[in-house]
């Protein structure tokens, strides 16, 4: 048997290709005869299309032009409500909505032609905010502009609020956030009636695209092939939108009978594709005089944009996480996702939870103050314990220990000493310092019955050459899929992870292991890798080729002999829910997630009272995410998530003008640079999860949840200002401190 493969920082599998510039991303492919595709978009938020004019100065016979009339199948992107057209026909519902596609061998000429197409539109009044949508003066979706509602209810909230000695209210807002993967979206398509359709591109979810293209072209799924190229970041931004781009590239290729590459420019990607849902959360919290939570009444609204897309599931996760890691006898969370005439908002790391957790954790500091407790005292008094039941009806059966996470976070951040010192030294200073914390959890895997519906499958093969191949549709997007799958398979097989290859996701080769989302790749799909690998091992042992204890070379020769005798060696595993997990889709109660990651984060800030700039000086992230498969990759996930959380909290401001992103450039949409981030210290408490591979849980989304509220609490600690709207730009902080006319 080899040395343990789990818990080691083995090098990233595809790392060498990445550091030498050899890794191939979609824009690096340039097949002969390729055309470049571009998109003509709606210039306004809402209206009726009355005509499309093509400038006669352009020699249109040199171009391939596609409108909705060219679509062979269904002009709806397959997802949940199937309400989003690939190409608008009679109405447009948001700025940048695609209407016409153009391709030409010369990209510059394609761009020039795009500017010479005029979409004539009779404007209709747009709905541009959550308030507009709820007011219902214009109905743009269904009967009431609401895509989806959820209600989670436990106990009697109204009675508890009426009888409580102290009630604290608050309203909190979070803005949109651009995923800002450094590789813009892109697809390359080959399509014809004879061979069907093949698409290569930047994506998280090959089978989402696979299913979408089958409907778009009215073709059987076996005529569709989707291949993931190296993907330069996703963060949710390449979950659902790539289906649209793949469809567009394939429509052009279908008509042109030539390969078509469609690569979004940065501005186009920022303006037209999905962003994190803006959200507004209202809290009313009843609390006893000694600081025990009596009731939490939470109203959570997200802006879904013009089409339903993933908003119902984003809302679901945000709703379930809204009450956090606390024990409270009476809880009511009402969630709704509303329609507005802005480009559809979509998946972004955390998927609704960062929004509702931001509100909760900022509010908890305010409740603590109202009862005269410190933030940590109040939380400690109310933390969830094993055996407690969450609002959604899930009884916590794992050994969660929030007080221990809090203790460690306070200790390693030197919280108490700093809080005391800052309070003593801040008076009269132009730069005030503060420290704040957030306590939270994040459910791993799909919500509710999602994993049961997905029925994910993974294959593991032993080859004639004696090495092992993992077959899954789960994509490597930087988070380490290739490496951790190799480690998990190698551990199960007792071999070295260098002997494991993770096959490039290609729907003609790999089974559907589900989408690469929801912190599910390690925990859910990794578990399938582990059990499929064990299937290979048992096949070898049962066939008599492998002793119970064996060496690497014995394993290799056993594979060779098995393949020679039987033709192939393959283990397959399909998702089975952990025993006892129950969920009721209709009543929306039960075990919302198989398990949760748990965390306490601490932020230390400086606020310049002259320029109103906030700077994070130090950051501590303590979490329990089960067994850590690869410490370097895991810490990299946490650090990257914290960086995105800091950006969301302080810098990243999507400026809207009539429903359109006005700052769709890296120049004026500001993400953290190397100069902006503090040291980020990452600590793991490892409590193995019984149903995860080698005890691992999900990790990817968790670090997005904590930074913003910890930073806001730190700013409130530094300045005494009750900050509740994110991002906290200097302009916004100034307007809180220096009201107009004051």
């Amino acid at each position: 048997m080899e040395t343990p493969q789990i818990g080691r920082s083995v090098r990233r599998k595809e790392g060498r290709a990445k550091v030498t510039g050899q890794a191939l991303y979609v824009d690096d492919a340039a097949p002969a005869g390729i055309l470049h595709g571009v998109t003509v978009r709606s210039p306004i938020a809402r209206g009726r299309i009355t005509g499309i004019t093509f400038d006669p100065a352009i020699p249109w016979d040199e171009y391939v032009v596609v409108t909705a009339a060219d679509i062979p199948g269904t002009n709806r992107v397959k997802l949940i409500a199937d309400d989003q057209p690939y190409l608008a026909t009679d109405v447009v519902n948001h700025p940048e909505e695609p209407v016409v596609l153009i391709a030409h061998a010369d990209r510059a000429r394609a761009d020039e032609a795009r500017r010479r197409v005029t979409i004539e539109i009779d404007p209709l009044p747009p709905v541009l905010s959550i308030d507009d949508a709820l007011a219902g003066r214009e109905i743009i979706w269904g009967t009431d502009n609401v895509f989806k509602r959820y209600a989670v209810v436990k106990g009697d909230v109204d009675k508890a609020l009426a009888e409580a000695p102290i009630v604290v209210e608050g309203e909190y807002e979070t803005g949109a956030q651009e995923q800002l993967y450094i590789e813009p979206n892109g697809m390359l398509a080959v399509a014809d009636r004879e061979h069907g359709i093949t698409v290569w591109g930047s994506m998280q979810c090959p089978y989402y695209i696979h299913n979408a293209l089958a409907e778009l072209f009215a073709l059987p799924t076996e005529r569709i092939r989707v291949v993931q190229m190296e993907t330069g970041g996703g963060f949710g931004g390449k979950e659902e939108y790539p289906s649209v781009i793949a469809g567009h590239a394939a429509l052009l290729a279908w008509k042109a009978k030539r390969p078509v590459k469609m690569i979004y420019g940065r501005s186009e990607d920022m303006a037209a594709t999905t962003k994190r849902h803006p959200a507004r959360t209202k809290h009313r919290t009843a609390v006893s005089r000694d600081g025990r939570l009596l009731a939490m009444d939470i109203d959570f609204t997200i802006d879904g944009g013009a089409y339903c897309t993933l908003s119902p599931v984003v809302l679901s996760r945000g709703t379930i996480h809204a009450a956090g890691p606390y024990s409270c006898p009476n809880v009511r969370v009402q969630g709704r996702a509303v329609a507005t005439n802005v480009p559809p908002h979509g998946a972004f790391r955390g998927f609704g939870a960062p929004q509702s957790i931001f509100a909760l954790e900022r509010h908890m500091d305010r409740v603590a103050a109202a009862v005269g407790l410190t933030p940590e005292q109040f939380r400690r008094r109310n933390f969830i314990q094993p055996g407690d039941t969450l609002a959604v009806g899930q009884t916590i059966s794992e050994p969660v220990n929030m007080p221990a996470l809090l203790d460690r976070a306070l200790s390693v951040s030197d919280y108490h000493a700093k809080r005391e010192r800052f309070a003593r030294e801040n008076g009269g200073r132009a730069i005030k310092k503060g420290i704040g914390l957030a306590a939270f959890m994040h459910g791993a895997g799909f919500t509710g019955s999602g994993e049961v519906h997905l029925q994910s499958i993974v294959g593991v093969e032993g080859t004639a050459g004696g090495w092992v191949r993992v077959l899954a549709a789960s994509t490597e997007i930087g988070q380490g899929t290739n490496t951790i799958f190799s480690q998990i398979a190698a551990e199960a097989l007792g071999i070295d992870c260098a002997d494991v290859e993770v096959v490039q996701p290609d729907t003609s080769v790999v089974p559907n292991s589900g989408p690469t989302v929801a912190s599910r790749t390690c925990m859910v799909v990794g578990k399938l890798v582990e059990s499929a690998a064990l299937g290979v091992k048992h096949a070898l042992i049962d066939a008599g080729y492998l002793p119970a204890v064996y060496t690497r070379s014995e394993f290799q020769s056993a594979c060779t002999r098995y393949v020679a005798a039987f033709g192939s060696l393959r283990g397959t595993s399909q998702y089975q829910p952990p025993p006892g997990l129950r969920w009721d889709d209709d009543k929306y109660v039960g075990d919302a997630y198989g398990t949760y990651g748990w965390a306490v984060y601490v932020a230390e800030v400086s606020v310049d009272m002259t320029t109103w700039e906030t700077r994070v000086d130090d950051f501590v992230a303590v979490q329990e995410v089960g067994k850590v498969i690869n410490p370097t990759l895991a810490a990299g996930q946490i650090e990257g998530g914290v960086a995105q959380g800091i950006g969301w909290a302080l810098y990243e401001d999507v400026v809207w003008r009539e429903g359109r992103m006005a700052n769709a450039q890296m120049t004026n949409y500001i993400m953290p640079t190397s100069m902006d981030l503090p040291p980020i210290s990452v600590y793991f408490e490892e409590v193995p999860y019984r149903y995860g591979p080698a005890g691992a849980k999900g990790i990817g989304e968790l670090p997005m949840d904590g930074p913003a509220p910890a930073i806001f609490n730190a700013v409130a600690n530094a300045t005494g200002i009750d900050v509740r709207r994110l991002p906290l730009t200097p302009e916004r902080l100034m307007s809180l401190m220096e009201p107009a006319g004051a």
Partner: protein, 157 residues
């Protein structure tokens, strides 16, 4: 649109005398990528992200903001020219060991910026590294492991 002809630029590319071609208004990035050197990436096209970074006569430039014509007679090093004879540069080795690369799209530019820093600063501080990489955006790592990689690479040189 009239055909404006082709600009041919003679330069030293990764140590070899080469001719790069493009439209007279072409960017160095386009000429490099269409010559088959696709390691430099276009992340923004406006000099913000640094993924297109290459060395031009030893100086780090954003090749998306550099006219092809500017490369005439210059010595250019791209990410493809950093490793020699299968030997990775210390920066590349350190990125592998310390987790400096995640999705990899910023990595070519990051490596070039780090190589340029180490070519002029033998013992950089973390602050030196932060300043040197300030023109290179990374959305995956939060930079911490990139700083560590560059500092470790400096120790090994």
């Amino acid at each position: 649109m009239p055909d404006a002809g082709v600009l041919r630029v003679t330069c030293t590319l990764n140590g070899r005398r080469s001719v790069l071609e493009g439209h007279p208004m072409a960017r160095l990035l386009d000429a490099l990528r269409s010559s088959g050197l696709t390691g430099a990436k276009e992340g923004c096209g406006e000099g913000e992200c640094g993924a297109c970074g290459v060395l031009l006569d030893g100086t780090l430039v954003n090749s998306c903001l550099t006219p092809l014509a500017h490369a005439e007679g210059a010595s250019i090093t791209t990410i493809e020219g950093v490793a020699t004879d299968q030997m990775l540069h210390e920066v590349q080795e350190a990125f592998l060991e310390y987790g400096g690369a995640q999705c990899g799209i910023c990595t070519p530019g990051m490596v070039m910026a780090a190589v340029e820093l180490l070519s002029r600063t033998a013992e950089p501080t973390e602050e030196d590294v932060r300043v040197a990489l300030a023109g290179n955006l990374c959305r995956c790592t939060g930079y911490m492991r990139i700083f560590e990689s560059v500092l470790e690479a400096a120790k090994r040189r």
